[in-house]
Every structure is written in structure tokens, then in C-alpha cells.
């Protein structure tokens, strides 16, 4: 399974300079995501996103509020 769609979701948020707490199902409608990817975005599970192939720089940028620093 390609991680392209997952990264696409994060990239679209990054380009719009959005820094949400999480990315829910309404915001990923139409993206070809697996249930695991949808769950990781909805819960902003950073480790899960990393292991699913999300680019770390996009994780950091979009979910910046989830990091201590």
C-alpha cells in the first residue's frame, strides 16, 4: 500500500499552514486511505503515522501542537 495519499493529506494541511489537533473523517473524504491511516490521523497518533510512512517533516509541521517543544 502506498503512503502517497496519507502524505497528500498532510501536505495539503501544511501548504494551507493548518496546525490542527487531529484530522477527522470529514477532512479526508475522497482520499484513498486505509482504515489504519484514517484512525492515525483522527487520533493524531504521531508514532503510528510515522510507522505508516508519513514524512516526519510533515508530521512535525501539521501536528506541531502535539509536540512538547
Amino acid at each position: 500500500m502506498s503512503d502517497y495519499a496519507l502524505n497528500r493529506v498532510l501536505y495539503e494541511h501544511a501548504r494551507a499552514h493548518k496546525m490542527p489537533e487531529s484530522i477527522g473523517p470529514d477532512e479526508v473524504a475522497g482520499y484513498d486511505l486505509t482504515p489504519e491511516e484514517r484512525a492515525a490521523l483522527a487520533s493524531a497518533d504521531l508514532d503510528a503515522l510515522f510507522h505508516l510512512g508519513a514524512n516526519p517533516y510533515l508530521i512535525r509541521r501539521v501536528f506541531r501542537r502535539r509536540f512538547a517543544l
Binding site: Y4, R8, H17, F50, P56, Y57, R61, F67, L69
Partner: protein, 275 residues
């Protein structure tokens, strides 16, 4: 012929400006080093600054991701939309379009097939160092970007070859252009990965020692795995430094500052190369 009149290496990090109250003592020392780098840069009276930098997935996404790219726009955003977050003013800096197009064409002739962009938007990669080094926004900037953030990455050996090619290009330029080289990025940092915030000062000091002793080519022998283990995913940005070191091989560096700044999540170095 054109000549290289100045060369410097510096880390970049968004929190240098985004969290201005963090780590005040370390911040003061690092910014003093950038002020000294600025003084030396201006003293060298360059006509343009070639900046070896990397995208952070803001210009290039997985639908079109160059290993190397030259920015030939008449101007570049540094920053645009990231200005609010970086807490520095949105601005456009002048480019060096003719110089970049000549580099592009010569690269194609020489077997270095650079990608090309006429419209680049920078984050902390250019915006933060330029905010301190070139706040006037009058010096033309020619960006050369290396993919350091979306593996598989070009090898450090290839980044060395790129820097050596840029040096040959400068040597062959007609006229008496005065060229400055600045690389940004590194040194060690772990970003967006499970151990985000880790810094490895031992590796950073090893990197700095190779440069101060004029042994920068040793960095070109590093593998992706070496860097990922010792310098973290952010350490992969050392490719930018390697290209500048290749343009001035054997030149000894002077460390103006080294600060492993926890709040910036980065082992921050600032190095002047005595060209």
C-alpha cells in the same frame, strides 16, 4: 573569472525566530555568531550569494520531487505563508536568474541534470538565516536545493560532486563577479520521528572538527545510514554543507558558535570558511 570571496555554513531551525524567548543564553551566543558571519559576508562585498539549502516539503511533494534543483526566479519568497509562524516579516528577496540559468545550462552540458524552478517559497531553510545575514534584502540569492527530507536521498558523494561542479562553473565565468557561498541545515537533529528533540553533540563536534581541520571531504564518504544513526533525519541536511565544502576543498573552517539548543531541537553550528 569570477571568484569565491566568502563561504559560510549555518544551521537553520524555525524556532530560532518562532520561539524568541527560548534558551536566551544559547540564542544570544548563536545570534552573535550569525552577526559576525554577516559582518564578514558584507566585508567580502559579494555580488550574489549562492545558497545551498533544502526544501521541507513546501515546494516539492511526492508528485514531483527533484534530487537537486536550482531556483532561477527573479525573486523568491522568504518567507510567504510561513511568516506568521516564523514571526518574521513576509518578504521577497532578489534572485540571480541569469546566473542560475547559466548554471542550469552548463550543468546539463557537464552531466549534472539539475531540476529547475522559477517560483520558490522558503521556510526556515532560507528565511531564517537570511533574516539575520541579509536583512536588507538587496543581495541576490541563487538557491540550489538538495532533497534532504524525502528518502531516498542523493548520496553525500553526489553532493560533493555538485559543489565541485559549481566551483568549476564559477572559475569559468567571464567577468569579475564576487560570489559568496552559504549552506544551511544540520547539524544533528531528530524531527517528527519517535525520538524528536534528540541531539547528538558528539557527532556534531566530529563534523565541526573535520571542517576546522580542512578534512571536509570525509563527510562525503558518509552514508545515509551513518547520518541517520548519528545525526538523525535532520542531520541529512549536512549534504548542503558538503556541497559548499566541495567548492572550497581543503579550506579550514572557524567555528563561530556551536550550541545544542534543546528548545530549537537542533545541534546548531555556525562556521566561517577561510577562502
Amino acid at each position: 573569472m569570477a571568484s569565491i570571496v566568502a563561504a559560510g555554513l549555518t544551521s537553520h531551525a524555525p524556532n530560532i525566530t518562532a520561539t524568541p524567548d527560548a534558551a536566551p543564553a544559547q540564542r544570544a551566543r548563536f545570534l552573535a555568531a550569525l552577526a559576525e558571519m554577516r559582518r564578514r559576508l558584507l566585508e567580502a562585498r559579494p555580488d550574489l550569494v549562492v545558497m545551498f539549502v533544502n526544501d521541507h516539503v513546501q515546494n516539492f511533494f511526492y508528485d514531483n520531487l527533484p534530487a537537486y534543483c536550482v531556483g532561477v526566479g527573479d525573486r523568491h519568497w522568504a518567507p510567504r505563508g510561513a511568516a506568521g509562524f516564523l514571526k518574521i516579516p513576509q518578504r521577497q528577496v532578489p534572485g540571480a536568474a541569469g546566473w542560475g540559468k547559466a548554471l542550469l545550462a552548463e550543468g546539463l552540458e557537464a552531466g549534472f541534470d539539475l531540476a529547475v524552478s522559477h517560483d520558490l517559497e522558503f521556510w526556515d531553510d532560507v528565511s531564517v538565516p537570511a533574516h539575520f545575514l541579509m536583512p536588507e534584502g538587496t543581495l541576490p540569492i541563487l538557491p540550489v536545493l538538495t532533497n534532504c527530507v524525502a528518502p531516498p536521498l542523493p548520496t553525500p558523494r553526489r553532493s560533493w560532486a555538485l559543489g565541485a561542479f559549481v566551483r568549476r562553473f564559477i572559475d569559468a565565468r567571464p567577468g569579475s563577479e564576487r560570489v559568496a557561498l552559504i549552506a544551511t541545515g544540520g547539524i544533528s537533529h531528530w524531527i517528527g520521528v519517535p525520538n524528536t528533540g534528540h541531539i547528538n553533540p558528539d557527532w556534531d563536534r566530529w563534523v565541526l572538527d573535520t571542517i576546522t581541520e580542512g578534512r571536509g571531504e570525509e563527510l562525503a564518504a558518509l552514508t545515509w545510514e551513518d547520518i541517520e544513526r548519528d545525526g538523525g533525519n535532520g542531520g541529512q541536511e549536512i549534504r548542503n554543507w558538503i556541497s559548499v565544502l566541495a567548492a572550497v576543498p581543503g579550506v579550514k573552517g572557524e567555528v563561530l558558535a556551536y550550541e545544542p539548543v534543546k528548545e530549537w531541537l537542533t545541534g546548531c553550528g555556525a562556521v566561517w570558511l577561510h577562502v
